[in-house]
Symmetry: C2
Subunit: 113 residues, 2 copies
C-alpha cells in the first residue's frame, strides 16, 4: 500500500478505529460487533494498529477478559479523518441504498468527533 495510506488503509482499520472511538473493548467485544471479520484478521489488524501507536492493548486483570484494546491519545488524532470517511460513507449509502443503516452491528451512523 502506498506509504501514507498504510497505517489506516487496511481493510478493517477504519472500522476498528471507529468502534474503539466509542470506548475501549475486549477482543470478544469487537468480535461481537457482528462484522464478518475472522479472529485471525481481527488480531492481525489490531496488532498493526498497535505497532503504529494508534491502539493500545492493556492487561487489566485476571481472566476472563483481562485484555482491553483502546485508542491511544495519538490514535485519537486520526478520528477527524475517520469521521470524514464515515460522513462520506453514510452519504454514499443513502445514494446507493445498498445497505440498511439500521443494522446495529454494522451501522456507522453516529458521529465520533
Amino acid at each position: 500500500m502506498a506509504a501514507a495510506f498504510t497505517a489506516i488503509g487496511g481493510k478493517w482499520k477504519l472500522t476498528l478505529l471507529y468502534w474503539l472511538a466509542h470506548g475501549e473493548s475486549h477482543f470478544a467485544g469487537l468480535r461481537r460487533r457482528g462484522a464478518p471479520i475472522t479472529p485471525k484478521v481481527l488480531a492481525e489488524q489490531l496488532r498493526e494498529l498497535e505497532a503504529d501507536g494508534l491502539v493500545e492493548r492493556v492487561v487489566t486483570g485476571p481472566v476472563p477478559a483481562r485484555v482491553i484494546y483502546r485508542l491511544t491519545p495519538y490514535g485519537a488524532t486520526v478520528l477527524p479523518v475517520v469521521e470524514g470517511v464515515r460522513v462520506w460513507g453514510e452519504a454514499h449509502l443513502q445514494r446507493t441504498d445498498g445497505q440498511s443503516v439500521s443494522d446495529t452491528a454494522m451501522s456507522c451512523a453516529s458521529s465520533i468527533v
Copy 2:
C-alpha cells in the same frame, strides 16, 4: 466491513483513488506504480470501485492498452476525504520515520485537492 466504510475502506482503495486523482490510467500503468499489489487484487479492487460508481472503465480503442480507468465525477467527491487520510498519513510517516517518502512509486506526498 462496517457499512459506511465499505466503499473506500478496502486495502488498496484509498491508494487507487489517490493514484487516479492524478489522471486516468491503464491497468498496466497502475501495476507499474510498484506497489505490492497482485493483478488479481488490483482487478478486484477496481471492480468494486467501479460497482460503487467511483471509478469508470473506459474502452478507448484497439489493443494495446485500450482500456483506461478514471475517476467518475462522483469519485471526485471522495477526494477531500482521501486527502484527509493522506495528510494524516504523511504526518504519521514523519513521526514514525518508518518509510522513506522519497520512494517515488509509493510516495503520496503531493496534494490532490
